[in-house]
Subunit: 183 residues, 2 copies
Amino acid sequence: MAAKDQQRIKALIERLGRLVAAEEWTGDLNPTQWTALSYLAQANRFSRAPSQVADFMSATRGTISQTLKALARKGLISEISSETDKRSISYSVTAAGRSLLNRTSELDGVIASLDGEPASGLHLGLETLVRNTLRQRGLRPFGVCKSCAHFQKKGGGGHCALLGETLTPRETDQICHEHVEAA
Amino acid sequence: MAAKDQQRIKALIERLGRLVAAEEWTGDLNPTQWTALSYLAQANRFSRAPSQVADFMSATRGTISQTLKALARKGLISEISSETDKRSISYSVTAAGRSLLNRTSELDGVIASLDGEPASGLHLGLETLVRNTLRQRGLRPFGVCKSCAHFQKKGGGGHCALLGETLTPRETDQICHEHVEAA
DNA sequence: TAAATTAATAGCGACTCGCTACTATTAACA
DNA sequence: TGTTAATAGTAGCGAGTCGCTATTAATTTA
């Protein structure tokens, strides 16, 4: 690819990121809090601890610790401490949190208005870019159970061969921190 | 487009934004300072005032005021006050600032490794998304002189019909806050 | 000339970020 | 088994962003 196109793509990514962030600042939550809340709503029951949120967001444990406490203070998530490991805790999104996430943003409208070709090209390009960046940095992919190498289909739901747990149909579409891309 | 694809694209944009930000935090500058420095290096002499940086970045004047003072403190940009309007000032990137911008990032490598189709699709998709978002919010496009409705080619360089100024060849490729997309 | 507008900035409270330090708790191994 | 070592979560520091509300100074507009 031409060096000029590379720079242009990078500039567009930066610009779009800033437009998204600017939109996210207008409301009760800041961009970090939005991302954390949205992640928790999509993550499965094995992936909702502060460390896993931090991993997903490429943020530090310290920052996420504070972020989650702020969300809990606002009543959008609630804290549950683990039975098996007394060090670890897990969060789940409350009804108030879910209703906040249902609000559509301006960006949704703009994405929806993309027709066929720009949309599919964008999808493929972003997918590739994110996957390659994660690989290069040695970060976990955080994909959904359905597409994981440890996933075994079982009726409507499934079974995780790594954790030895049965998954409900809904859970097969949730994000897992242990995800390994199926071949 | 399917609602599911929309959500996926939005999630990818958020994720990529966070990966970029995480990379930008590792160094002497923070993400806001990087973007401001990079903008100043590309903007023409009519577009390097704090207000214009703030407009480009969808940030407030207050934040940008502090950001630019921080960059100046670090010796990466220098302040020049205007002759014509005593309220306004302009910044230009120093040699130290330029050399900092020449460093290639990890993201550059990943973008460069994209082959034909994902790259061109990504380019088109991002371009469309950014343009539509700017239009919807009523923000200025901040394009380069060359592609502006006020631009008149003149030898190697050009002339701006709006500001009545002659442009050197280099300047025709710089970003202008007055840019209006040519028909 | 008075009133509105614009450019830049200061300061407040909430917050993120990288960092180091610290407390529990759990795992590893010699 | 007992002593490291690793892990999970958190607190607190300093720098800085963000939205906000003034404030000052200069420039237009009526």
